[in-house]
């Protein structure tokens, strides 16, 4: 469906709703994700943040936000948002306002899974975006259940790295009742914006898992964070798809470059053996086959 009243070039010319001057690192992709979110959704957004790096975007007495924004705690993005929606409904202001959660992967996959799951189950009209940098970045880059297998974090140091594969969150949320569910990556801004435009029209709960490379966490150079995200997608390690009514649509056909190319520029995979890289490659190919051959909903192998 064409998005007739939205011209991205025009939108980019408007004053940014996330202004400059945050405390984010050079090359921070989560912050870019906020900017893209606000380009897509506009002014009528109330944004809920869960504790993480993005909490430090505003520090008294400074704020980069031209929209209402609130940080509650780490594990409750879904429920703070649910409360805001209750309040807006009670005040009859819910029709023209988007309630958006912008929370990290640790806050989403781990400590806040309960409140997200409740929000999704109740079909709250909330857009939940997980900016996924695959680790607890703010506390110094520890392993979350969104961290890739074998990745180095400060709690999963080499030689082995993270022994566990990551959760498939988009799948879990789609099964849990999300009306619209998608993966996205900051390196593919138009895809992400299109998904948000779609999400804005959904009468129900939305979950978007936004891969957002992190310069100090992934051990990539600031100017290579976008590239590292691109390689994750093009290698098939982070497929871009959306799920509506349990139907999965692939939004970008990856080139399926060897995962080795994607891993190479990220210092957190530097310690990997050929064998480990081979295992990752095999898993990626298998997963891609499952997605493309209608077996997405089958239980995953461990």
């Amino acid at each position: 469906m064409a998005d007739v009243d939205f011209n991205i070039k025009e939108e980019m010319k408007k004053p940014h709703l996330l202004t400059g001057g945050t405390f984010a690192c050079a090359g921070c992709n989560p912050v870019l994700g906020i900017r893209l979110t606000l380009i897509a959704l506009g002014r009528n957004v109330i944004m809920v943040n869960s504790s993480g790096c993005m909490t430090l975007t505003a520090t008294w007495p400074f704020t980069p936000y031209r929209i209402p924004w609130v940080h509650g705690a780490i594990e409750n993005g879904g429920s703070v948002a649910a409360g805001i929606l209750m309040g807006l409904k009670a005040l009859k202001k819910d029709k023209d306002t988007h309630v958006v959660v912008y929370a990290g992967d640790g806050a989403t996959y781990d400590i806040g899974l309960q409140s997200l799951s409740g929000m999704i189950h109740r079909r709250e009209k909330i857009i939940y975006i997980c900016y996924n940098n695959c680790q607890f970045a703010n506390t110094g880059h520890q392993c979350t259940s969104a961290t890739e297998k074998y990745a180095r974090t400060t709690t999963t140091p080499p030689p082995i790295g993270n022994p566990l594969p990551r959760k498939n969150m988009a799948k879990m949320m789609a099964m849990g009742g999300a009306d619209y569910c998608a993966t996205a990556c900051v390196s593919f801004p138009f895809d992400f914006i299109r998904k948000l435009r779609k999400a804005a029209k959904v009468e129900g709960s939305v979950f978007i898992d936004l891969l957002s490379p992190c310069e100090p966490g992934w051990l990539v150079k600031p100017h290579e964070t976008i590239k590292s995200g691109k390689l994750m997608v093009e290698s098939g390690m982070w497929p871009l798809y959306e799920i509506e009514k349990k139907k999965i649509t692939i939004n970008h056909k990856p080139e399926m470059i060897p995962v080795k190319e994607a891993l190479k520029i990220q210092g957190r995979f530097k310690h990997l053996t050929e064998e480990q890289i081979g295992e990752i490659q095999e898993t990626v190919i298998k997963e891609w086959e499952r997605i493309t051959n209608g077996r997405f909903w089958e239980a995953e192998e461990y």
Binding site: L56, N76, V80, G83, I84, M86, L91, T97, S115
Partner: protein, 379 residues
């Protein structure tokens, strides 16, 4: 309207008369009937507000933060483990200066699991930056919920309020209660617009970090608002007395004026202690009771004034801080620092263990004889 209502119904009626707009909740004994009552009203079309059962008390408290930040009048209720699960959110709600009312229906803490009341749940919230009103009767619960909104939403205060009752003794015990007419409450309770709120027409960044001295200034302002609320609570209680004839004070003093020995306590058991006082007065013993109703902010000065001339004081703690003793005791001692009274501490009624009139008679006789401070368990 005179009715026979239990404490849970009173809390629900308080919320209904206050026309609360958002009720995020999660069930727990002995609170559940509050939310069931509101759910039934909602189903019958008698409650126009938003009612959502969340997936935990932590989420219910989080939703309270969100709902109240939009400017909607917000109410919730919980007990025991539920209150402890909410605990993380309570200083966030007060720190964000978000007005709301939470009814806590006291129940002892696990482990071991118990269903019956003591005050360890609610008193554990004493440092959370919430105004705390601790009730003795069902009527007081209903009245306090309504008054609490006028206190909480006062633009000079903007602090959340806990209205506490005892599980079972209040929550499941019916007594005669006057449910004030809606017109009366509407006149008593306006709804001032929240200036700092989440509103796309007026973007603000809330709940942000503040570092160094800025942090300390925030905390100092919170403390100041707490202290400023003494006057507001006082005025609201007087205004309520004017329209209903029901008078409430920070401290509820009973036959203390000429007393030689006084019991200091909180909560529902005060009613039993009151009749013990009467019994002893009949025998010519000069004894009295002081019930602390406003627990936060702590009315230290008023407490000192009320107690400084009393020779022997029995502080009853229906709670235990293991390794320290009763929670009220050191607070009362602090209020009396430098005074010459003998102040004894009695731990009783944990897990709702039954206490009788005679138990209080025993305590009063014991404290009358006391020559020095002492700490005891009555069981």
């Amino acid at each position: 309207m005179i009715d026979i209502l239990d404490g849970n119904a009173c809390a629900a009626w308080g919320a209904r008369r206050a026309k609360v707009q958002c009720v995020p909740v999660f069930p727990i004994t002995p609170t559940t009937e509050i939310i069931e009552t509101i759910a039934a009203w909602k189903a019958d079309g008698k409650f126009p507000g938003e009612f959502v059962v969340l997936e935990s008390e932590h989420s219910a408290a989080s939703a309270c933060l969100g709902a109240s930040m939009t400017g909607a009048r917000t109410f919730s209720a919980t007990s025991s483990q539920g209150l402890l699960l909410m605990h993380e959110m309570l200083p966030i709600i007060s720190g964000c200066r978000t007005p709301m009312v939470l009814t806590t229906v006291s129940r002892c803490l696990s482990a071991p699991i118990g269903l019956w009341p003591d005050h360890n749940d609610t008193l554990a919230m004493r440092d959370a930056g919430w105004i705390m009103l601790i009730c003795e009767t069902n009527q007081e619960v209903l009245d306090s919920v309504i008054m609490a909104y006028r206190i909480s939403e006062n633009p000079k205060i903007l602090l959340p309020v806990i209205v506490n009752m005892d599980g079972f003794v209040h929550s499941y015990t019916r007594t005669e209660v006057d449910v004030p007419e809606q017109k009366l409450v509407d006149k008593f309770l306006s709804h001032p617009e929240l200036e700092v709120r989440l509103d796309v027409k007026k973007p603000m960044t809330l709940g942000i970090p503040a570092m160094g001295l800025d942090y300390m200034r925030y905390r100092q302002q919170l403390h100041k608002a707490m202290l400023d609320s003494f006057d507001v609570v006082d005025n609201v209680q007087k205004a309520w007395a004017k329209v209903t004839g029901r008078k409430y004070e920070f401290l509820d003093e009973y036959k203390t004026k000429d007393a030689k020995a006084v019991i200091v306590m909180i909560g529902a058991n005060s009613t039993i202690a009151r009749s013990a006082v009467d019994k002893m007065r009949k025998k010519g013993k000069k004894v009295g009771l002081l019930r602390i109703r406003l627990f936060r902010p702590f009315p230290e000065k008023q407490l000192r004034k009320a107690l400084e001339k009393i020779d022997n004081i029995a502080v009853i703690d229906q709670n235990i801080c293991p390794g320290m003793g009763g929670i009220l005791y050191p607070e009362v001692k602090m209020a009396l620092s430098g005074c010459k009274n003998v102040v004894c501490n009695y731990i009783q009624g944990l897990g709702g263990n039954f206490v009788s009139e005679d138990d209080y008679v025993d305590i009063l006789n014991d404290v009358l004889k006391a020559k020095a401070d002492d700490r005891k368990w009555q069981m």
